[in-house]
């Protein structure tokens, strides 16, 4: 029995010291020095205050801002401390009701699909360029800005596919709304 237990205890114990403490702590130190912004959560600041993370979506309800995708987190949308999806299946009546309601709220179809469906994380920082374009008239009216000016801002904030190939074209809602506030 000891012939079996001694190596098991020793190997698991040493791995715990090495892979559970020494390596991750050293790795955390190196990461914090080499990539301090990313390692610390890619925070965005305005006037010296943290307004969010460039990677996390946040809730916008005001007519003056672009709205992110629907979020299924509880108790409030875009709760980054409790990420969640709706997990509703394709034949769910609750999902169909929610989609129908969102289509109506967006002024009728065809509505970009990302505006009518909840994301996987409940924290999706992006919307599609079509979704952003769909919202331009509302924001222009609420802010008293020419539509062309808001539409141009959307185009400037649109990220293409990474390296021209990977992922989908998208607009970061928090960055877009920060840029919107900065418009004079």
């Amino acid at each position: 029995m000891t012939a079996l237990l001694r190596p098991a205890l020793a190997v698991v114990g040493l791995f715990t010291l090495l892979l559970g403490f020494a390596v991750p702590l050293a790795f955390t130190g190196v990461a914090g020095v080499v990539f301090p912004g990313q390692a610390g959560g890619s925070l965005l600041e305005r006037d010296g205050r943290v307004v969010g993370s460039a990677l996390l979506g946040q809730h916008f309800a005001s007519e003056r801002y672009f709205h992110p995708r629907p979020s299924a987190t509880a108790p409030a949308p875009y709760n980054a401390a409790a990420s969640a999806a709706s997990q509703l299946g394709p034949t769910s009546a609750a999902l169909l009701d929610a989609v129908t309601e969102r289509v109506a709220a967006a002024g009728g179809g065809p509505v970009p699909v990302d505006a009518a469906t909840a994301s996987g994380s409940g924290l999706d920082p992006h919307i599609s360029p079509e979704n952003a374009a769909h919202q331009v008239p509302r924001i222009a009216a609420a802010r008293g800005l020419p539509e062309a000016r808001v539409a141009e801002l959307v185009v400037r904030q649109t990220e293409g596919r990474q390296f021209g190939l990977l992922g989908e074209p998208r607009v970061n809602v928090l960055r877009l709304n920060l840029a919107l506030d900065a418009l004079r």
């Binding site: 012939a3 237990l5 190596p7 020793a10 190997v11 698991v12 040493l14 791995f15 715990t16 892979l19 559970g20 390596v23 991750p24 990461a31 914090g32 990539f35 990313q38 390692a39 959560g41 925070l43 205050r49 943290v50 969010g52 993370s53 996390l56 979506g57 946040q58 801002y65 709760n79 401390a81 409790a82 990420s83 999806a85 709706s86 997990q87 299946g89 394709p90 034949t91 769910s92 989609v99 009728g108 179809g109 065809p110 509505v111 970009p112 990302d114 469906t117 909840a118 994301s119 994380s121 409940g122 999706d124 920082p125 596919r161 190939l165 990977l166 992922g167 989908e168 998208r170 709304n177």
Partner: protein, 565 residues
């Protein structure tokens, strides 16, 4: 489906093929003890454990050593999870897990499953993540690879008892294969935006004046090994859909590659160990064929969108986006779903529960086919070799000749053991699902009504017994019933397969290695590749067809009629 979507899929799978060649050769060198750049650290392990790494072990000693190391790992992790509330590195003051949940979580990470009935950002301290889970992410992966090496050696030489030294295999795989890759991938992930920090959570004031709690943690290093070791347990609740865990299409490429890289490379490692690389490529081809076919079905289904939502006024252009992230879209979500279920990884970048019925069927079937396409690290290879024995047996029956594989005659005993290993999965998946479907204590956890509700139950036990870890997340799994039964499914799905596999290794190793003759059935040709694929599909898949017909297939037909539940 779009050309650029397929181009992304082809790029990632192409990378997997390209890296499998050097990785497969390197792993064979590690297994042979030829890689020694951390020799002083390695010797420290042997000295502390009183182990002679050069001394070979028979199947019993090897299996017992494996079980002992896993048992110690389980107890340590269970203790950390129960006591996390009073242990250090807990800036958010998270309390200890309940006994049921800690049992489920500890089993889950020791068996390389990473089923998660908790949410990382709210349910675990930094210590539990960094020290408890990360260590098991490494050890459970090396355990699987070590066992696959032992079985491979049984085919390599004639009439031997020695399958290698478990402790040497475990330490070498961890130090020379997993650790360097995890450090490299982890650093790339931090550069791409994945946090790595021990600071407390941050309170942000949103533009509309609300507050948002931004969780942090030592995530990047753990995410790296979770993918490389086909563990799949998310640092954050929604796994690699959480923007911190997988911020960009580039980090998505890295992680999707990491899910597949080692399991595919191990097929070639097998070829090196048996000194016939063509055998490795044959297994590789079967694995890749299923992955490509699976991706094509899921991509087509998801790109088609949900007909009910399209009728309700949703633009059909981009497909079904419920539960998906804009930055990944439908193509990268489809690829990931098949990769993570084929490879027994279980991490997700989109919610399988909200896929279209056929898009959700394929991930479930990829697990049910035995987690060999390419399967978990190591477990995929030894599972595939079990199917190989059955395939040569079927071929032998057809021509009336004693079956053999790589010069080893395959007898009744090996075939019985192989069938035992294959039957574990349907027994536990279908058995538990059937019981759960009629027990109120279980059905109370189901979120969706109709056929989809059955799919949620079926997926849970499929994921547990297959040691996958992904979920149809609508199921409320943190209950004593599910924590216990899925915990048992994970245990039997892992060790119930390993013990017959190691008994096969003993029986095969003891046989003399015969020279190939003109009557030998070659096992590297397209004919054999097709036969093996057929055996996997029929022997692995057929028994699940009735259950799948009542779940996703029924839902697919119902969806076309416009009915909702």
């Amino acid at each position: 489906m779009t050309a650029i979507g397929w181009a992304q899929i082809a790029l990632i799978l192409g990378l997997v093929v390209a890296t499998a060649v050097p990785l497969g050769r390197y792993t064979a060198a590690v297994a042979a003890g030829h890689v020694t750049f951390l020799a002083p650290v390695e010797r420290l392990f042997y000295a502390a454990g009183g182990v002679d790494p050069a001394r070979g072990m028979g199947w019993k000693a090897y299996t017992l050593a494996m079980l002992a190391s896993n048992a110690v790992g389980f107890l340590l992790l269970y203790a950390i999870l129960r006591l996390q509330g009073v242990l250090p590195l807990n800036p958010e003051g998270v309390g200890g897990q309940s006994a049921w949940l800690a049992f489920n979580t500890a089993v889950s990470f020791v068996t390389n499953t990473n089923w998660q009935a908790y949410s990382g950002e709210s349910g675990l301290s930094y210590l539990s993540q960094m020290t408890g889970l990360t260590v098991q992410n490494f050890i459970s992966a090396s355990t699987g690879i070590a066992l696959a090496l032992a079985l491979s050696r049984a085919f390599a030489a004639g009439a031997v008892k020695d399958l290698g030294n478990y402790w040497a295999d475990l330490v070498r795989i961890t130090l020379y294969l997993l650790l360097p890759l995890a450090l490299l991938l982890g650093l790339l992930l931090v550069a791409g935006g994945v946090p790595q920090s021990l600071s407390p959570y941050i309170q942000a004031t949103t533009l509309e004046g609300g507050t948002q709690t931004i969780p942090l943690g030592p995530a990047a290093f753990q995410v790296a090994i979770k993918q490389l070791g086909t563990n799949g347990g998310g640092f954050f609740g929604v796994n690699s859909a959480y923007p911190f865990e997988n911020p960009t299409p580039w980090t998505n490429l890295l992680q999707c590659w990491a899910i597949l890289a080692i399991p595919f490379a191990l097929a070639l490692t097998f070829g090196h160990i048996v000194r016939d690389i063509r055998q490795g490529w044959a297994l590789f081809a079967v694995m890749m064929g299923f992955v490509v076919a699976g991706v094509a079905i899921v991509y087509a289904a998801e790109a088609g969108g949900n007909p009910l939502h399209i009728a309700a006024g949703v633009d059909p252009a981009t497909g079904n986006m419920e539960g998906k992230e804009v930055r990944f879209g439908v193509a990268l979500s489809a690829l990931w779903a098949v990769a993570t279920t084929g490879a027994s990884n279980g991490s997700v970048n989109a919610m399988h529960d909200s896929f279209t019925p056929l898009g959700g069927l394929v991930p479930m079937l990829m697990i049910q086919l035995g987690e060999v396409l390419p399967g978990g690290v190591g477990s995929g290879l030894y599972g595939m070799l079990v199917f190989v024995l059955l395939a040569v047996f079927v071929a032998g029956l057809m021509v009336g000749r004693t079956p053999e594989y790589l010069g080893k005659k395959v007898g009744a005993k090996e075939v019985k053991l192989a069938m035992l290993a294959v039957l574990i999965l349907p027994a536990f998946i279908l058995g538990f699902s059937a019981v759960a479907a009629v027990l109120p204590v279980a059905t109370a956890s189901v979120q969706d009504a109709g056929p989809h509700g059955l799919s949620e139950l079926l997926y849970a036990y499929t994921s547990g017994a297959g040691n996958n870890g992904s979920a149809f997340g609508g199921l409320t799994a943190d209950t004593p019933w599910f924590n216990t039964t899925i915990g048992l499914a994970m245990l039997f799905g892992r060790y119930g397969v390993i013990v017959p596999v190691m008994a096969i290794a003993r029986a095969i190793a003891a046989k003399p290695k015969l020279a190939a003759s003109s009557g030998t059935f070659p096992t590297h040709t397209p004919l054999f590749i097709g036969l093996l694929a057929g055996v996997i599909l029929i022997l692995g898949g057929l028994q699940f067809m009735p259950a799948l017909a009542l779940g996703p297939v029924a839902e697919h037909l119902v969806l076309a009629t416009g009915k909702t539940f």
